[in-house]
Amino acid sequence: MRYVYYPGCSASGTSKEAEESLQAAMGALGVEWTELEDWNCCGAAIAIGTSYLLSVALPARNLALAERAESDLVTGCSRCFLNLIRAIHYTHENASVHEKVNELLAETGVQYSGKARLRHLLDVIVNDIGLDVVAERVTQPLDGLRVAPYYGCCQGMWTYAQFDSVEDPHCFDQLLATLGAQVVDYPLKTACCGGTLSMSRRSVGAKLIGDLLAAAGDADCIVTACPLCLFNLNSFQREAGRIKGTHFNIPVLFLTQMMGMAFGLPKKALGLQRNAVPVDGLYKKIAAGATVSSGAASASRPK
């Protein structure tokens, strides 16, 4: 299997661990990942505050590049995914949007026809690679680890409509269960983390993050499907705790980091040293869990 993928700015900077672990985990699964050549920022949640046309054209340029590479485009960032799929949807629905977007894209020498198909990393893992293949690769089941999957809000709109229930998705839960983890269901798993509010309006952003961390309750860690959420949930636990009148210290990992742990990949390859909240405690829990339920866990894993 070969994919052209779009890393997005977060994964190549503030959430480097996402990118590193993605490469490592995909390598372990024997999947070939090629970075989209010459990609640009999708505008995050900021472009819409400056220019409507840029908020569609910036992501559309990446789709145009994927068309040029004659490939589908995969992204592991939910924020980017939302912007990209919004660009697909809007150019398809409104001819004048499409026309203006291409007018802008002409400046960079590309055109977007509407052919490129967009995939989310989770979709690729669950539906293309397959949970059975993932299960085979698990060498260190996450026994006894209570993991809260965080789908992120951005997935709500068009994301899961393509491959999972929009309001009540399950694919991430299934993936984590396949890794041997005990999945914690909590009501805010698809709620927004506040995105860039953590930077632009700290008091609001930190409260939203605090509510989320609290909702995940007694989970040992949170796993995200978005590098931007990863950054938010990791970096502002102190501020969130101050607002909520508590102290948070819950490790937050990117989904391929969690996969890499179960695959027994080296910590460094997964960028685990980069997570703001240290993750070492998780290894101890896994080890303890494995001795308690030796063997039983593999039976409880879904096929």
């Binding site: 229930s165 309001e167 009540d168 909590y186 009501p187 805010l188 509510d211 609290a214 909702a215």
Partner: protein, 665 residues
């Protein structure tokens, strides 16, 4: 200018329809245009052609000028064609020499510019066609003096009783083991708080006792043939495995039956046996055996408790499905509605939290004969606070755009019942708009206010068990913007009642096809006219009553049911119906005997005379669709009233304004 035929005299009558037509179409100009057309002896316009003076105008012209054809340019033929046909007939002109030209629904009402030009084109076509219209004779055939009522809910029951009371035979067919429908499941009815069973069950008993009603429960109509006045319906009677003629309804069988299943009647909140009547007042009071749970059937005779205990020997495992054919003059379709499944909206928590229930489930909880004997208990507890969420699946483009019309009122009823049964209970209504439009409804709304019900205007975004403070622990939180304040509220409750949309039955499409009816965009069956013919349908002799036509409450349902009964009675009491005269006929001289037409006819109206090698059309069976006409390679079949000549003349004249020779480059 259309050339027309020199030997005919046509009268053209342009209706203003008040300002409905005249407001958009220049009726004077159009009349002048008509006057100029060949064959036109007279063209007039008038404020309301369908009024007495308007009709008199036409009659006078027919009589004095000896018109050969009449064109009325007014509304759709579906509105007033019968009126003007009668006018012609009364003035001595064959009614088939009338042509209605639709310049209202398909012109003045839908076009702002160009309506006058389009009206001229349409009238030109109408005149041209009218020149070639031929007189036709309608034949009368007797009607079968019986009525088929499909569906035994309150609509079907009321319709059946009324027709039967008028002395006519009724076949009442119900799919479930008992009649009663959704109304039998309800506890009280708004706004009077009558007990639903108290007002319904006497009617059910009356159905059973009525000498003119033949009740067929656990049965379905599977085929309908024929036409208005003479329908033949085939009814599939599923095996009950209980002989209705022997059973006394003593109940020993279901008392002794050891096998249990979820009770459909109690929405799965209670249980029933494998041999059961859905509820104590079931009509007929004869149980059915559910083959999916009966161990005697499943495991080849390993049980037979009912067999053993039934003193009358009414249990009969050898029963098989039976087909019954009935002949009726009219059909009343009253197959009701389905309740929207709210688990589609996951954020409202149905199927995730045991204390989130639907309104119908609440009706059963509230009912003294229900699974909790009328105690409002969910998840083992009596709720001290209840949130009622309106418009679940209604007024939402993702599910149903329409308003389900009954929820506001029954939600108020629920609030009253909860207040009455649970002392000190808090009830919150989460509504968007309170729609209390009926008789006594607003007064009931007021009463709920005085009883201390809290109204929160806003569509809840979520029902969650996530507690963010101590007082939220162990509660369900309804998260909603209080739109009148402009702030998000989290309302902790012990129970949530969802008011799901009433939706068209999942098999509404099949029912529509079975009875040759149409569905409106919302899936419900379409009446002929929203205001003037609310129960008639496009298929003559078939009527729709109750929620099969759209969401409605019990009073509206009953009113429609009685209207349906009146329609059916008016039809069959007349004793005869006129057959369509616009049928197809074979020109024997032209027929080459190729037989292409024979298998095409959906009504097997075409036979082949082997001796003379000619096709022959049975006029009583032909419905005038014209499929054979278009298929005949020898053009030997003529569609009366839709002849090739008539249509071609119409098409040519329709393009009367097609530009003359164009400019050459």
């Amino acid at each position: 200018m259309a050339e027309g035929k020199s030997d005919v005299k046509i009268g053209v009558y342009v209706c203003h329809c008040g300002s409905n037509i005249a407001g958009t179409v220049d009726v004077e100009k159009v009349t002048e245009f008509a006057q100029e057309q060949g064959s036109v002896a007279v063209a007039r316009n008038y404020k309301f052609m369908c009024s007495e003076p308007g009709q008199a105008l036409i009659k006078k012209d027919i009589e004095e000028l000896g018109l050969d054809g009449v064109v009325v340019a007014a509304c759709s033929p579906r509105m007033h064609e019968p009126t003007f046909r009668r006018v012609c007939e009364e003035a001595g002109l064959n009614p088939y020499r009338l042509h209605m030209c639709n310049i209202r629904e398909q012109c003045s009402w839908v076009h702002k510019n160009g309506a006058t030009e389009k009206a001229e084109a349409l009238i030109s076509a109408a005149i041209s066609r009218a020149c070639y219209l031929e007189p036709l004779e309608r034949r009368e055939v007797p009607v079968a003096p019986a009525v088929l009522v499909v569906g035994g809910g309150i609509a079907g029951i009321q319709a059946a009783l009324k027709v039967a009371d008028a002395g006519r035979k009724v076949y009442l067919v119900e799919r479930e083991p008992s009649i009663g429908g959704h109304m039998a499941q309800l506890d009280k009815t708004f706004p009077t708080l009558d007990c639903s069973a108290c007002i319904l069950t006497p009617r059910m008993a009356a159905v059973k006792a009525h000498p003119n009603i033949e009740l067929m429960t656990y049965s379905e109509v599977v085929d309908v043939q024929g036409y208005v006045g003479n329908f033949k319906a085939t009814i599939r009677r599923k095996p009950r495995y209980v002989d209705e003629s022997l059973c006394t309804g003593c109940g020993i069988c279901w008392e002794k039956c050891p096998w249990k299943a979820e009770s459909e009647f109690d929405c799965g909140l209670g249980q029933r046996k494998a041999i059961y009547t859905p509820f104590p007042q079931a009509v007929p009071n004869v149980p059915v055996i559910d083959p999916e749970h009966c161990v005697y059937i499943l495991r080849d005779g390993k049980c037979g408790a009912c067999l053993k205990f039934c003193e009358r020997g009414a249990i009969d495992f050898n029963q098989t499905e039976k087909m019954v054919e009935v002949e009726v003059g009219a059909i009343i379709v009253a197959t009701g509605y389905d309740v929207f499944d709210p688990s589609a909206i996951t954020r409202l928590g149905y199927n995730r939290f045991p204390n989130v229930i639907t309104s119908l489930e609440f009706e059963r909880l509230c009912n003294a004969a229900g699974p909790t004997s009328g105690h409002i208990v969910v998840d083992g507890r009596e709720p001290k606070s209840v949130g009622i969420i309106h418009c679940v699946g209604s007024r939402d483009r993702k599910y149903h755009e329409y308003c389900s019309r009954v929820c506001c009122m029954y939600a108020l009823k629920f609030a009253h019942l909860i207040k009455e049964k649970i002392e000190g209970a808090n009830v919150y209504q989460f509504y968007i708009d309170m729609r209390c439009y009926g008789k006594g409804f607003e007064e009931f709304y007021q009463r709920a206010g005085t009883e201390g019900v809290t109204f929160i205007r806003g569509r809840p975004a979520q029902v969650t068990d996530l507690a963010i403070s101590e007082e939220e622990e162990g509660k369900l939180m309804v998260v909603c913007e209080n739109t009148l304040v402009g702030a998000v509220m989290r309302v902790p409750v012990d129970m949530v009642i969802l008011c799901p949309a009433m939706e068209a039955r999942s098999d509404a499409r099949d029912v529509a096809r079975l009875f040759n009816l149409s569905q409106s965009a919302d899936g419900f069956l379409l009446e002929r006219h929203a205001k003037m013919e609310p129960v008639a349908t496009a298929n003559d002799g078939v009527f729709v009553v109750g929620c099969v036509q759209g969401p409605k409450d019990i009073p509206d349902t009953v009113a429609q049911a009685l209207a349906g009964a009146a329609e059916a009675l008016a039809l069959i009491d007349k004793g005869s119906v006129e057959l369509e005269a616009a049928t197809a006929v074979v020109d024997e001289a032209a027929c080459s005997g190729c037989k292409i037409c024979v298998p095409l006819c959906p009504y097997t109206a075409i036979t082949f005379n082997e001796a003379e090698k000619r096709a022959l059309i049975n006029e009583a069976l032909c419905k005038g669709c014209g499929v054979c006409v278009a298929a005949c390679p020898a053009a030997a079949i003529v569609a009366r009233h839709f002849t090739d000549q008539q249509i071609l003349a119409e098409v040519e004249a329709l393009l009367v304004d097609a530009r003359p020779a164009p400019a050459e480059v």
